[in-house]
């Protein structure tokens, strides 16, 4: 009974995506059944569209920059939070979570206000700033749970054995939390790649992929949106899958290494 319900739930989640994917290969412009034949014409069309290609490039650039900045800021924060105690930790933890506790609309208009008051031109830079703000809380939450599980005394032991702080970080901390950080970086990339609500306020002339899809949607329902959507979906889901597999594989390596340690 419950099992059946859960599969229904999953089906509900995936059905719209499946339908879009299906029609992106439709040979006719119709978006209804019966299905008339398979073709790649909509993909050909979208790949000859320079606006689309530009925005795709922009999204990849923004995603990579966001992931890089978020990873540095987020990892430092997560490591720092593990060393803090009591009220400071609680307060900063809440502050770091703040940006996702508010609707994206609010962040968007607050940022656009700031940028206009300090005279910062809207560009891919402002978009990246906004995306870092949005992805940082997710990154910190994802890494924190892993770091709390990690024992600070391991690092102290390394210091005790004569390692400098940087060495002990590189030799002890990084190998343990590395996979999690990698996974969280990919998460940041995927979140940035799909971000639309804040971007719509802080972007300038250069558009990102969601903005392009948005303007295509406002124009007309044309099947090349399907193709654009599937490309966008494929990229973010594919990335998440790769990230997940990486983290999983690393954990398994670590686990089997530990099992071997126990045996000897």
């Amino acid at each position: 009974m419950l099992r059946f319900y859960v599969w229904l739930y999953v089906a509900f989640l995936y059905a719209p995506i499946a339908i879009i994917t299906l029609f992106s290969f439709h040979s006719s412009a119709s978006l209804t059944f019966p299905f008339e034949g398979v073709s790649l014409r909509w993909y050909a069309k979208i790949f000859s569209d320079t606006t689309f290609l530009n925005s795709l490039t922009n999204s990849l650039i923004v995603g990579a920059s966001t992931a890089a900045v978020t990873t540095v800021l987020g990892s430092l924060t997560a490591l720092g939070l593990a060393r803090l105690k009591g009220r400071i930790q609680t307060v900063f933890g809440l502050l770091a979570f703040g940006p996702v506790a508010l609707p994206g609309l609010f962040l968007g208009i607050a940022l656009v206000m700031l940028f206009s008051q300090v005279g910062l031109q809207r560009s891919l830079v402002t978009v990246t700033i906004a995306h870092v703000l949005f992805t940082l809380p997710f990154f910190i939450e994802a890494v924190r749970s892993r770091i709390e599980y990690f024992d600070l005394s391991l690092e102290e032991a390394a210091r005790d054995l004569g390692a400098t702080p940087l060495q002990s970080f590189r030799l002890v901390t990084l190998p343990i939390i590395g996979p999690t950080i990698g996974g969280a970086a990919i998460l940041s990339f995927a979140l940035s790649f799909d971000e639309f609500i804040i971007t719509v306020f802080v972007s300038g002339n250069e558009t990102t992929l969601p903005l392009t899809i948005w303007s295509m949607m406002r124009r007309a329902v044309s099947p090349d949106i399907n193709a654009a959507s599937v490309i966008s979906l494929g990229l973010s889901i594919g990335l998440i899958l790769i990230g997940g597999l990486l983290v999983w594989y690393q954990r398994r390596l670590a686990l089997s290494a530990r099992a071997k340690d126990l045996e000897t």
């Binding site: 319900y5 995506i17 609707p103 609309l105 609010f106 208009i109 206000m113 940082l136 799909d194 719509v200």
Partner: protein, 290 residues
């Protein structure tokens, strides 16, 4: 004098960059926005002032109440649906499955882009959309059902679809803290499955339920894209109005004031929800004896 250990000093040093970033790009903009809500706009230019006109203008307009009601309605319906629909699935994942495959399968769909999902629902619900054409081909209706698309219904279905995976994630992590032992102890003491749910599981994962509900509520009530694309004329919300101030019409102070009014409404909903759970005896930390 507070003593700060070396560990803590290092911790403060490590969080400093993020703190600075959040200060500049989160706290200051939020304060600026608040200050700006008391300014005036003339001919698209901001004029610093201290006036309550923007708030008064919003609050004296019946349209504002209507749009805010729409926003809250979208948020409440979506949040209730998300929590109610996700809870059984989360329960199943935590108590009835061993591996995490199903959980990951659901989480992955979180990353199917927001806009694409809105678009997909437009394709499905539209008057030439999948549901209507299929129903007509089957001969069940002869006119397309217009109310499917461009209605609060379409908005809520889509927002729920968007929020389900994340709501599930929050519920699953909350339920994971309710160890099987507690469920068994309650059963052993004579609780039926429903009683286990209401007297043990729900109070114990209270934070997760409140978190999932509020997160979903805030995001969907504040959303302006879905109602704009799918909500139709009657589905207009405060979010759309605010967004328009900043994108087209250009009265920023008015938009800022409405944003803070909307936040205040969210706060009221939060307090109401917490109170409701308390009344339903679903909140933890309560004594039932004197």
């Amino acid at each position: 004098m507070m003593k700060i250990s070396r560990q803590e000093r290092m911790g403060l040093g490590l969080v400093a960059p993020s703190f600075f970033f959040l200060l500049v790009f989160f706290i200051i903009p939020a304060i600026l926005l608040f200050v700006c809500s008391f300014w005036m706009a003339q001919a698209f230019r901001l004029i610093p002032a201290f006036t309550f006109d923007n708030y008064a203008r919003a609050l004296s307009n019946t349209g504002f109440y209507f749009l805010t009601w729409n926003a809250l309605k979208n948020g409440l319906c979506t949040a209730v649906l998300t929590v109610v629909l996700s809870f059984p699935a989360a329960y199943f994942i935590v108590y009835r499955t061993r591996g995490n495959l199903l959980f990951y399968l659901i989480l992955v769909s979180w990353f199917s882009s927001y806009l694409v999902r809105i678009y997909a629902w437009r394709v499905i619900l539209g008057s030439n959309g999948l549901i209507n054409t299929t129903l007509m081909q089957l001969g069940l209706i002869d006119q397309p059902l217009e109310m499917l698309l461009f209605s609060p219904f379409a908005t809520i279905v889509t927002l729920t679809h968007i929020m389900l995976p994340f709501g599930l994630l929050l519920l699953v992590s909350a339920l994971r803290d309710v160890k099987k032992e507690y469920v068994e102890a309650a059963r052993d003491l004579g609780a039926s499955q429903t009683e286990v749910l209401t007297r043990v599981i729900l109070p114990m994962c209270y934070k997760g339920v409140v978190g999932a509900f509020m997160f979903t509520f805030v995001i969907s009530a504040g959303d302006f894209v879905t109602p704009q694309l799918l909500g139709g004329r009657d589905g207009m919300t405060t979010g759309i109005l605010i967004a328009n101030q900043f994108r087209t019409a250009g009265n920023w102070p008015f938009g800022a004031a409405m944003a803070f009014l909307l936040l205040a409404a969210f706060l009221v909903v939060y307090l109401g929800f917490v109170r409701l759970l308390d009344l339903l005896r679903l909140a933890p930390g309560r004594r039932f004896h004197d």
